[in-house]
Structures are given as structure tokens and as C-alpha cells.
């Protein structure tokens, strides 16, 4: 493997910091989005720490296991959590070259998300209830087009580096950031759609309701309780922040520190927090403005994302080479 510019110790430090910051920050970001949504709909917000309070309370609770489930039901939250927590090690967001990034490229990352989704669907179906099956089926239905769309977006971003390795993509995008790329614009549009679909946000899924006719994510985790539920919730908050981090890497990479010094790290982190706050605010605005789609329209929505991403990919060869 090519030699990383970082020493082993600073490499460990960087990876540890990435994992810790993502784990701690994910609920905060969810809190921030909730706060913005509350303000936009004229409600008094619960505060940015509310998701953390929920998680801590859930961890202190007793776990209720539904009758008739197998051991897979109990294993799923661990697997989902591990798949998403390990992803935090591969996405560069504190520096451009986390030492573990060569373990997994962009395609592996999408595969890990897909693994988490499949596991979640298995957990849901293991309960053997109509809600679980409904949630699992709908989640897979959203996923079968959103996942290829995500991959096509990653492929578009990898066109400049000719490599799907995340640090290589970011380096090439940082070097070419002064030019305007129409293909990246298409990819960004597709990314926004995929982001909404993959994270169960409006107009695909409303994270705030338990209305059986419309729910997807909530239906899947309906039978989970206590620490298991906390892990599932935490994992989906992680997924949200991971998506935003990928988006920030690809479409707004400016300011990501290439060297690892205290000053550069602090500056990069500050800028990254600002990016995430803006993205969270934008998400709140989108969710306030849009109504939920009928479930049968969902594949059309994700198909649009897939087509946009594929078009961005092809446009690169027509217009830019």
C-alpha cells in the first residue's frame, strides 16, 4: 500500500477523532434540523440537545423483545450500527487523507450503506408483523433505485481522478474547483434527491409521524425498544451526517485541510460545522415546503435521481472531454 504521509500515531488520532466526532455530532445535527423545522413551523423548539436526551433515555430503558423473533432481531442493531460507524473511518472530513481510507473506496461505502439497509429490513421482517414487512419492503423499494443513483453520483465525481478512491476524488476536485462542471451540477441535483430518499426525509418519508399508511423507516423499527432502538436511531442519524459529509466532500470541498496541523484542523472543522449547519437548515426548509409523495410516486422520484446522475455522467464525455 502506498505510504501515507501521516505517522501511525497522528493517523490513529485522526481516525479516532473522525469516529468520535461523527458519533457525537450526528445527534446534534439531527437536533439542529429539528430546531430549524420547529422555528419554521412556528413551534417552540426542543433544543439542539433533544436527540441526545432521547438516546440517553433509551439506553437506560429495558429492552422489550417481541415474541417469536429469532436471534437475528437482536443482532441487527449491532450490525447496522457497526456498518455505519465503520463508514466514518473511510470518509475524509477532518483531513483529505485519513489513513484507513484505502480500506474502502466509494463503491465499498455504498455497499456498506446497502448492508445496513438490508440488515434493517431483515430485522423488520423478523418481527413477523404487517408493519415490519411493510417497512422492509418499502425501504428496499426506495433503495433499489436510490443506491444505483448514489453510485452514479460517485462515478461522476470520480471522473476527474479516474479512481473511486475517496481521497483521490477529493484531491482532484480540490485541484479543479475553479472551473465550472455541468456534470457536477447534475450530480448535485441527483444527490439532493437521493439524500432525501435514502435518509427517509420528506417528500419520501416523514420522520415525525407514525401514520401506518405512509411510514417507511418508522415502520421498520416499530418493534425495537430500549438500547436496541437507541442504536437504530443513532445509526440513522449517523447515516444522515455521513451523507452530508460525502456531499460536502464532493460538491463543496473547499477548505478541507490537506496537511495535518492544529491550526488547519481547527479551521477545517469550523468550516465543516458551518457547511453542515447550512445543509441542515436547507434540509429543514425543503421539508417545510414539501408535502409527502404518494408511495407509488416514490420510484419515479428515485428514478429521476438515477437518470439525472446517469446524465451527468454521460454529459461529462459529451461536453467536458
Amino acid at each position: 500500500m502506498d505510504v501515507s504521509p501521516l505517522s501511525l500515531r497522528s493517523g490513529f488520532f485522526l481516525e479516532g477523532a473522525q469516529l468520535l466526532l461523527a458519533l457525537l455530532g450526528a445527534p446534534l445535527l439531527a437536533g439542529w434540523i429539528g430546531l430549524c423545522r420547529a422555528l419554521l413551523s412556528n413551534r417552540s423548539p426542543a433544543g439542539i440537545l433533544q436527540p441526545w436526551r432521547d438516546l440517553l433515555r433509551l439506553f437506560r430503558k429495558e429492552t422489550l423483545l417481541p415474541e417469536g423473533t429469532s436471534f437475528l432481531f437482536r443482532a441487527v442493531p449491532y450490525l447496522v450500527f457497526a456498518a455505519l460507524a465503520s463508514s466514518t473511518l473511510f470518509i475524509p472530513f477532518l483531513g483529505t487523507d485519513p489513513p484507513l481510507a484505502p480500506v474502502a473506496d466509494a463503491v465499498v461505502l455504498v455497499g456498506l450503506f446497502s448492508l445496513a439497509r438490508m440488515m434493517m429490513a431483515f430485522g423488520a421482517m423478523d418481527a413477523g408483523t404487517p408493519f415490519g414487512d411493510l417497512g422492509g419492503r418499502r425501504e428496499m423499494m426506495v433503495g433499489f433505485l436510490a443506491e444505483p443513483a448514489t453510485l452514479m453520483i460517485l462515478f461522476t465525481a470520480s471522473l476527474w481522478s479516474h479512481s473511486t478512491s475517496l481521497p483521490a476524488i477529493i484531491h482532484s476536485l480540490l485541484d479543479a474547483s475553479d472551473k465550472f462542471h455541468p456534470s457536477l451540477l447534475f450530480a448535485l441535483l441527483a444527490f439532493i434527491l437521493v439524500f432525501l430518499a435514502e435518509n427517509g426525509r420528506l417528500p419520501i418519508d416523514n420522520p415525525a409521524t407514525h401514520l401506518e399508511l405512509t411510514m417507511i423507516h418508522e415502520a421498520m423499527i416499530l418493534e425495537y425498544s430500549g438500547p436496541l432502538l437507541a442504536m437504530m436511531e443513532w445509526a440513522s442519524q449517523l447515516k444522515l451526517i455521513l451523507y452530508l459529509l460525502i456531499g460536502a466532500d464532493f460538491f463543496f470541498p473547499a477548505g478541507l485541510p490537506k496537511v495535518l496541523s492544529a491550526g488547519a484542523l481547527a479551521g477545517g472543522l469550523l468550516l465543516l460545522s458551518l457547511k453542515l449547519l447550512v445543509a441542515g437548515g436547507t434540509l429543514a426548509v425543503i421539508e417545510t415546503l414539501l408535502a409527502k409523495l404518494r408511495i407509488f410516486r416514490v420510484p419515479e422520484f428515485t428514478a429521476l435521481a438515477y437518470l439525472l446522475a446517469t446524465m451527468g455522467f454521460l454529459i461529462h464525455f459529451v461536453l467536458e472531454v
Binding site: 500500500m1 417481541p66 449491532y78 457497526a82 446497502s114 423478523d126 419492503r137 438500547p227
Partner: protein, 682 residues
Amino acid sequence: MTLLPDPLETSLLVLMFWGMTAVLGFFLLRKSRTFLSPLLFLLAAGGVTLAFSGLGGLAASTDLHRVVPGGLPGLPFHFRQDPLSSFFLLLLGGAGTGILIFSAGYLRSLPTPRIPSFFLRTALFLASMEGVLLADDAYLFMVFWETMALVSYALVVTENNREEVRNAGYLYLLMAHFGSLLILAAFFFLASREPSGLAPGLSAFTFEAMGKSDPTGGVALLVFVCALLGFGAKAGLIPLHVWLPEAHPVAPSPASAILSGIMLKTAVYGLLRVSFGLLGPGHLNYSWGVPVLLAGGFMALFGILHALLQSDPKKLLAYSSIENIGIIFLGIGLAILYIRSGHPVAGELALGASLYHAINHAFFKSLLFLGAGTMIHASGTNDLNTMGGLLRRMPFSGVLVLGGVLCISGLPPGNGFVSEWLLLQASLQAGTLSGTLLRSAVLLGAALLVLASALAAMGFVKFYGIGYLGIPRSEGAQNAHEVSIPERIGMAWLMAGCLLLALLPVQMLRGIDTVLHSLTGTSLPTTTLSSGWLWLLPLPPQGASYSPALLLGLLGLLLPLGGLLPRVFGRSSFRKTPVWGCGYEIRTPRMQDSAGSFGQPIRHFFANFFLMKRHLPDPSEKDPVFELTVEDPHWAFLYRPAFRLFQGLAALAERVRTGRISVYLVYSFGTLILLLTVFRWM
């Protein structure tokens, strides 16, 4: 000089051993069925030997020939084990062993009168496939190929008291012979172009002579098309695939596993042998890669869409085989395109990924077919709607099937992911191609591949979620038991193969590289092969990298993290409760999804891929029944019209047959005059 026989000798010994065990075993089993398990273990020992012979052949990249007396006058039997054969022998031996061990447990449920013939057919089937891989002349190849077709037909119609089984078998036989004729034609076109140095006659039909022939562009195209369609008919190339989802599921499960997991790969072998071995990469045209690539992509999508709508687990798996063969064909098309347009590195990678997927598929598809067999055995029917809750009752085999499901869905760190990842990396080199059309074709292929792979995940959530999870939907599933020890060992063997393929990709690629080198003369980049077992670097230096072992390690490290948290924060006690039923305590298995309802969104969204007949009952009907039949559109638009055409032609020809001898004499006389006229003027 070693005392050990060389790989080819070992393989030939296994061939003889399997053949003899088949016949001896047949007579022994007619005496008593107690011999069954020992005999199957003997066959499995042969499989292990064969796998080692393949491994040895790959490691030393041997190319051994042997001529055995016999055969046609002037054409003795030619055998050869080159790296391509070695690779597929490894696949056959490796996957075959697991299936044979499994059979030792599974076949106990077979009624006694069927056992001897089933054993004979299975052993002969394996032996004939090995013969196909070792044959080095057209005659011997066709002999083994036809034996394989006939024996597998006999396996398909094992339960010949059911009409659907007989129909499926007939259809299979028809398609197999259609394919054989085309393969024979491909050999004929190659051999008729013999170089002037060799004596004409039958010796032109050895593969060596064919490999030296120098066909013109048109003939080369003809050979390629014949081989593609001929071997495609065996591999399930659309539209020649209709027999596959009928014939594979009706055979007993171990036979289905061999059919889908191994026999389909002999067709891949044949296509590679004819196109890259006999025709030679120099005679291929880059533009032929495009239709192969797009056909592969379409097969992948079509196969998995139909798989999603099946409620018979084995039929679901059979359609998924079409998807996987599509992925393999996509890689072959990509390889032809890249290699012949001057991008050998990407081309080798595509071909290597294709071979990798072939061996991956052999292991996980065999595992899943065996799993489907245990599911059907447990519930008593071949309908997913009667299953459910099997994981609790069959935890050991259930976990193995779960592993197979994750591997076939192309998820990291499974083995299916490795080959699909390599194929994507090859596709992403499209930027180096010249011409927007070529690039678009390659990228379209990549887009189809990722779509098919995401749909596969949904399909196997259905397979596993409805079959193994939830609560039992029938009495049989309720009383299901864990499978016998040999069955578990057989499935675990296949799972171990998947794991090795998943975690040691570089080792596997080194073996595959000898195949690539012998076929095309070029190799994968040396850094890829020498980068240590941990790192997979297909396109050095700036290309992407992947380390399945480290990924698995990290997942393992983070797995307990979630479990620590409740201990840190508070409680970790458990209590059993009823599920949430909106306040009601009624819970019946029918409240769960059926196999049909799980596939409903797909049917809705991809309606163009299916031919659906729906009957919505009228509100006033006394006994309202909702009916829906989904069919492969190829039946309605291609096969039934073709059948009608043939029946019409046959009816026309029938008019000639009057039954009066005077008329027949006139026919003979007319024919004679006609022939004489023709020969006079020629």
C-alpha cells in the same frame, strides 16, 4: 521427477474414478441403500482431488496434453489441461464437493427405487462436465457435451410422474440440442479453414489445429455468433433462456445446485474456449464486445426482475442465475471491447472479474439451492407463502443461507462484491476509450449492473425475509427441524469457499492471471498481483483500493461498541412481549407479507418487463377472487408464435402423406429426376 502424478493425470484419474464409481455404485445401491453415504463421500473425495489438481494447474500454469487411443479413425481422444481448464476444474471440484457431501444427508428422503439411478446420473453428470473441461478435440468435446446434456435431462426429469416436470425436461432437451447444433457449426467453420501445412481430414478437428487456423473476418464472426448462441442456449442467454427457470427448479435440490452452480459455467468455459482459445483474441473485433456487453446487462436486469416476482424459492434462484450469467457475459463483452481497442489492462481486469464472478456464483448459488432444498423439505411445499420463521427452527443452516444471501446480493465484505467491484472498476476506465458511443455503451452497462445488483438485494430480502424470518405460515414450517449433519457440512463447505474468495482476492487473482495470460498473452498489472494478500489494487498506481479482510476486522471491532453503550448508560435487561398490533392481540401469519405482495412494487414499476393478466372481481360477484398471472413475455411474443409456425408447417407437410403407395412412388421418382438434374448441371 516426482512420484506424484501431474495435474492432467490426476484429473484423468478422477474422471475414471467418477465414471467407475457411478457404475459400481449403481449396482451396489440396487442391493442396499446403506451404501449411499459412503459412495457419495467417495465421489466428494474425487471432487477435492480435482480441486487440488485445478489449483496445482493454476499455480504452476501448466499446459499439459495427452492423447489416448480410441475415438474416430484418425482422431484419437485428445485431452489437455491448460490454465483455463484448471480454473474451471477448481470450480467444479470445489463446488461439487460441497454438493456431494450435502447429498449424503439429503438423499435419505428419496424413495428407495429412485436412489440407484439418481446416484448414477449425478456421478455421470459430474464426470461428463469434467470431460468437457478436459477435451481437446471437437469430437471428444461434443461427446462429453451431449452426455452432459442427456444426463442432466435425466436428472431434471427425476420426478417424471409430474407433468410439469416432463414438460420442463422436454423443453430443456430441445434447447440443449439447438445449442449443440450451433456449437457443432462453430467447430465446423473453424475446422474447414485448415492451414495448408496440416493433412486434411479429421485431424483438423483437434483444438490444436483449430487454434492455428486463420479464419477471415466473416468466418470469424460466424464462428463467434454460433458459439455465443450455442453456448448461450446452455447459459440462459436471453431469449434462449426460457427453459432455465422451468428445468432448474424441478430437479431435486442437489441436482439443481449442480445445474445452476456448475453446469452454467461449462457454457461460459465453452464460450471462452472458442472465442479466446480457438479463435484467438487476434480474430475478435472490438465491436462484437458491444452487443455481448449490452446483452449481458439486459440479462442481468431481466433476470433479477423476474426473480423478484417468483414465489417458488428455486425458481427465484433460477432467474437470479440468469442475472449472474448476465454479469459474467457483461464482463466478457467488456473484455473483448477493451482488449481489441488497445486497452489491455482494463480488458484483463474485466475478463478476470468475469471469471471471478463465475467461481463466486458457483459457490453461493450452490449454497442457496441447497438451502432452498432444506426450506422446501421443511415446509413440504415449494411455495414461499408456506414458509416463515425457519431461522428459529433451523439456526445453523439458516445462518449459512444468510451468508449466501449477503454474498449474492453483492454486499461487502462478501465474495460477490469483490467481482462486481472489479467489474465496475473496469467499466470506469471507459474514459480511455475513443468515441462517445463506445463510452456510452460501457457506462450503460455499468448503470445496468448497479441497478441489477441493487434489485438483487431486494430480491434476496424477499427470499430470506419471507422464507426464514417472521412467524411460520404453515404447519410444516411450524414443525421444521434442523437439517442432518452431512447437509450442514456440505453447506458449510460452500460457505467456507465463499469466505476464502471474499477475503483472499489477491490469491484468487493470481490464479486467474495465469488463465488471462494463457488466453490473451497479457497480464494484470504486477503491483496488483504482488501487493500482498491484504490489499486489492486493480489499477495501480492511482486507482481505487479495497481490503476486505481489514474491513471485516473493523466491522468486528466496532460490533461490540453498540453493546457496551447500554452497560455504560444503564440497563441491558430483556423481556419478551407480544408484538404491537395497534391495541389488538390478534396475530395471524397471514398478516405478514406474501411473496406476491413483496414483489408488487417491482411489478408496478417495471410493468413493461412482464406480461400480466389480471382479473379484478366485480363488486357484485358472489365469490370474488382476485387473480393475477405474470408471465415471461418471451413466451407470448416469441415461443408460442414459433410453435404455432412449426405446427402449421408440420400440418402442411402432413398433406403430402396420403397413405397411397402409388403417390409415394411418384415422390421417389420425382426426387430421383430432380437429383439427377441437379448433379448434371453442377
